[in-house]
């Protein structure tokens, strides 16, 4: 028995996953080929809102290689199938049916209208051009305020309104704080701002894909999904297929970022067509389809009012949101902005708080989870407001934050939005960040540049963020009317040769679970890192799980693994005691060995596993197996936090922004693998910075997505981003045995306001107090030169981040 003496947790292990991925030995869904497999191609609506007068598929059916062409009526003649939404946020939430393929009318450009089944993908694609659809245009509903206007045309006539739901929280009513109106009335300073959270595209690199094989007793569906377990159950519920007749596999999945938390019409379509034809089918989308048809993220208008004393003490915060759902409700879409309700108060002691969010339907691609999901929006709102308040009061923005944040000796702290933060140390993270950043030095340089009217001005942006992650305690989800629990499952199989298989209900798609879970189990069982195999993403081997999103894998799934390991040890202990003829109480377990206390007599867990396998001599009533499983339901969220500092140079003559320095010190609790954590931070930062500077999904006035390709949607390349300085402080979570918090979304949540704050800070002396995202050179230039308080609007065009052309009437507003 090899004992691993040095703890694995905390070690910068290189990833197990890499060996295949760097050699091209991959199992992307689109790589799968099955005997007799046919290919699907989906015809997508070119109109954003129109009646379908007629669909003529006869010519397409005659095309070479075409096996069948189906419309919505062909696949679902009763109109009974609706894509699921699992988060009815209010009892009276309006929920339109989202068909598999449009029936009667289309509600956004990109919605599926018909599907071709052909021998090859190319033949299926060719036949799409032969389908003739007659549309009768309906008025297109775009923009939140337009949609809510009294005489607005309706996206869904049958609902009688474009309002999906109104969700409210009020600290006065909840008893968690004071009355916000009173706080505003009595305040020495009141500041109101409107911010726009532009719409984003998750832009995972692997386009979505799905293969269904109906030829075995159990249907098998491979899908490029984050949520194989949820997809299995939801497919069963949606189509009435008995759940035990479906197996879902998420093989290698090329990124998700929330964009692959969905039950797709195309997945349901693939199931239906495969069953109809009795043959395996494959659907793989093009990038252009992804852009228009896969769900988008963000898209809010935020009206914020902050009340404070002249000394900077914040006395109240009122948040009024409008959130664009798009044309239909995604799987968790309506709940995404609601996650922000708990985060606007952030790290601050705010005595009175009100949150209200109106969800709205428009004739656009639906929105749903995108990295951070509700929390980046909230963090942006409050961190921008703190900078604005500091400017109003003439205070240093960090000093203002410090005055209001929860001190390290005040934890656990129950916030005005009723969450209990278990731990944190904002002072420590901030002190470290300020040193690494050279805050004082950069402030001096900023003053000098201002003094000499340098065409390149310097700004400093701060974001002292926290987030709630590790979704989630089931009872909390229940109180929010979410359609599932928040637990996670794990199982451990002790093999006769001492090797170990770990099964997890988390479904990794780039996060490195195989490596991190191996480290955890290695410590728990004293088994070498190399002797552990982690299995995931297949409902046949990993039969139970709630998958990967909301930075939950480690803080929930990883703890389930710990709990399963504890059970293995409990079971092994009985057998070990029997083997060494002692009492269980005399045994201690460490480094993979059971040792009789006070002696050097010991036996390794591998030997116990072998003894269990042989089962020749086990104590009475003990089953011949060490295998164990556990389901862990977290008692609380985890609350990572950090201090992000950004120095931005703004060329006032061109409007171009250059990120001079980006420093962040994050506290994600105990770290299992610092290399993986750092990688998550880098990627998260890139996405948050991209929201600030580059990305925007833009619709023209007819509802056509004009940023519908990677040529038009400005995903940053290596040349667009700086190097980041990342560091950590480590305040363990007190609510789980590893002391871990989540890290997957932190960088994205924190970085956007840091960048915007920096740019606004650089040009505030020109009279600018906001610039709408993305901060394209044109918008920045316009803000500087017109002295506009809040420059936006123009620049909302495809490739807007490039500041390429003027399109005053573009944009979804």
């Amino acid at each position: 028995m090899t004992a691993t003496m040095e703890p694995e947790v905390g070690k910068g292990r290189l990833r197990k996953e890499d060996a295949r991925l760097i050699a091209g030995r991959t199992r992307w869904t689109d790589n799968i080929t099955l005997p007799g497999m046919v290919h699907l191609a989906v015809l997508r609506s070119t109109a954003a809102h129109a009646k379908i007068v007629n669909i003529d598929t006869s010519a397409a059916k005659e095309m070479p290689g075409v096996i069948a062409v189906y419309t919505g009526d062909d696949l679902d003649p009763e109109g009974a199938i609706g894509m699921p939404c699992a988060w009815p946020i209010t009892p009276d939430m309006k929920s339109p049916r989202r068909p598999v393929l449009a029936q009667g009318k289309v509600n956004f450009a990109g919605e599926g209208v018909a599907v071709v089944v052909a021998r090859s993908a190319g033949e299926a694609e060719d036949a799409l051009a032969e389908i003739d659809v007659d549309y009768e245009d309906l008025p297109v509903v775009l923009g939140l305020e337009n949609a809510l206007a009294e005489d607005a045309p309706l996206v869904h006539e049958e609902l009688g309104t474009n309002r999906n739901a109104l969700w409210k929280f009020d600290s006065g009513e909840a008893g968690s704080g004071g009355d916000v109106e009173q706080a505003i009335n009595e305040a020495e300073v009141v500041l109101k701002r409107r911010f726009r959270q532009q719409r984003l595209v998750p832009a995972f690199m692997e386009p979505r894909s799905c293969v269904v094989d109906p030829t075995a007793p159990q249907l098998t569906m491979w899908s490029a999904t984050q949520i194989p377990h949820i997809l299995k159950t939801m497919s069963a519920l949606t189509l009435g297929i008995p759940e035990h007749k479906i197996r879902v596999i998420a093989p290698d999945v090329g990124g998700g970022f929330g964009g692959k938390i969905a039950v797709l019409p195309e997945e349901i379509m693939s199931l239906l067509v495969a069953q109809k034809l009795g043959r395996p089918v494959k659907w793989t989308e093009s990038r252009s389809e992804t852009m228009a048809a896969a769900h988008h993220g963000r898209d809010q208008i935020q009206d914020l009012t902050i009340a404070a004393k002249r000394d900077g003490t914040v006395t109240g915060l009122k948040v009024e949101l409008m959130a664009d759902m798009g044309a239909y409700l995604g799987l968790v879409g309506p709940g995404v902005p609601i996650l922000g309700a708990f985060m606007f108060n952030a790290i601050y002691k705010i005595p009175a708080y009100h949150f209200a969010c109106t969800n709205v339907f428009t004739n656009t691609t639906l929105t749903d989870a995108y990295r951070g999901a509700g929390r980046p929006e909230a963090t942006f709102g409050i961190e921008r407001m703190m900078d604005e308040l500091a400017a109003e009061l003439g205070m240093d923005p960090m000093e203002l934050r410090e005055k209001n944040w929860i001190k390290h000796d005040e934890f656990p702290y129950t916030t005005v939005s009723t969450l209990t933060y278990d731990s944190g140390n904002y002072e420590a993270a901030t002190e470290k960040a300020m040193q690494l950043f050279d805050y004082e030095g950069l402030r001096r340089e900023q003053a000098e540049r201002r003094e000499r009217n340098d065409p390149v001005q310097l700004g400093i942006g701060i974001s002292t963020f926290t987030e709630m992650c590790g979704l989630a305690p089931s009872r909390v989800l229940g109180s929010l009317d979410y359609g599932a629990g928040g637990w996670e499952h794990a199982a451990i199989r002790m093999l006769p040769t001492g090797k170990v298989e770990v099964i997890t209900g988390s479904s990794a798609h780039g996060q490195g679970h195989e490596t991190a879970w191996s480290q955890i189990v290695s410590d728990q069982l004293g088994v070498p890192f190399e002797d552990i195999e982690v299995l995931h993403g297949d409902t046949q081997s990993s039969h139970k799980g709630l998958d990967t999103y909301g930075s939950r894998s480690l803080a929930v799934g990883g703890i389930a693994v710990v709990k399963a390991a504890e059970k293995v040890i409990e079971k092994a202990k009985k057998i070990a005691a029997h083997m060494m003829e002692c009492s269980e109480d005399d045994l201690e377990f460490s480094g993979g060995k059971f040792t009789v206390k006070g002696t050097d007599k010991s036996t390794g867990i591998g030997d116990v596993a072998f003894a269990a396998f042989m089962a020749h001599d086990l104590p009475d009533g003990v089953e011949p197996s060490l295998d164990s499983e556990a389901v862990y339901d977290p008692e609380n969220f985890s609350f990572p936090h950090g201090t992000h500092l950004c120095a931005a140079e703004v060329d006032t003559e061109t409007g171009r922004v250059r990120l001079r320095k980006y420093v962040c010190v994050d506290d994600v609790g105990k770290v299992v693998n610092p290399i993986i954590v750092e990688g998550q931070m880098h990627g998260g930062l890139a996405q948050g910075i991209a929201q600030a500077l580059f990305e925007e999904a833009v619709f023209d006035e007819s509802g056509t997505l004009t940023s519908g390709t990677f040529a038009d949607y400005l995903l940053p390349s290596a040349a667009d981003l700086p190097s980041f300085t990342t560091d950590r402080t480590e305040t363990p979570s007190t609510t789980n045995p590893l002391g871990v918090k989540g890290v997957g979304e932190a960088g994205t949540i924190a970085s956007t306001p840091a960048v915007v704050n920096a740019v606004v800070d650089a040009v505030r002396h020109f009279g600018v107090n906001d610039i709408e995202m993305p901060l394209s050179p044109m918008r920045v230039w316009k803000a500087v030169h017109s002295g506009e308080k809040a420059a936006g609007g123009p620049g909302a065009e495809a490739g807007g981040g490039l500041g390429s052309i003027d399109a005053t009437h573009g944009g979804a507003q």
Binding site: F204, P207, G510, G683, T709, F710
Partner: protein, 180 residues
Amino acid sequence: MRITVTVDGTTYTDDVEPRTLLVHYLREQVGKVGTVVGCDTSNCGACTVHLDGHSVKSCSVLAVQADGCEVTTIEGLARDGQLHPVQQAFHDNHALQCGFCTPGMIMQSIDLLADNPSPDEQAVREGLEGNLCRCTGYQNIVRAVRDAADHMRPGAGPEAERVAGDAGSRAASSVGGGGE
């Protein structure tokens, strides 16, 4: 149309439709599914391979244009189980997460190092501008490429990828630095 292409050291003769893109030929006819398709506008670079030793986006090359050429994909880089130094560096520097962009990113990095055996950070960033990654924020990719450069001087290049004759004895040091 009939074409003859050498892919990762094996010669194939196939009939292809004139419109067939090289990437589709590689994935669907040759079975080289290690090379992937990430977009349809030649922006993402996930499909990058080497055509006669130089990187191309294989979605922007017709299969017929590869007639008579040598193609190297991510699957043809390792020799006798020995990873290419750039592959090794991607692993050593945690330069991949989901791994979807990785084949293209590695192929482009090798080409970049062939042109410039010791690039500074900015040169790496600009050299990889045509390859998109959504996971890493590029920082570790940049680090990996520079790390690989340190390990493989003098550089990679078309000669280093030629399989015929010297299979198994591929020694970067026996090859000149430049790719051009």
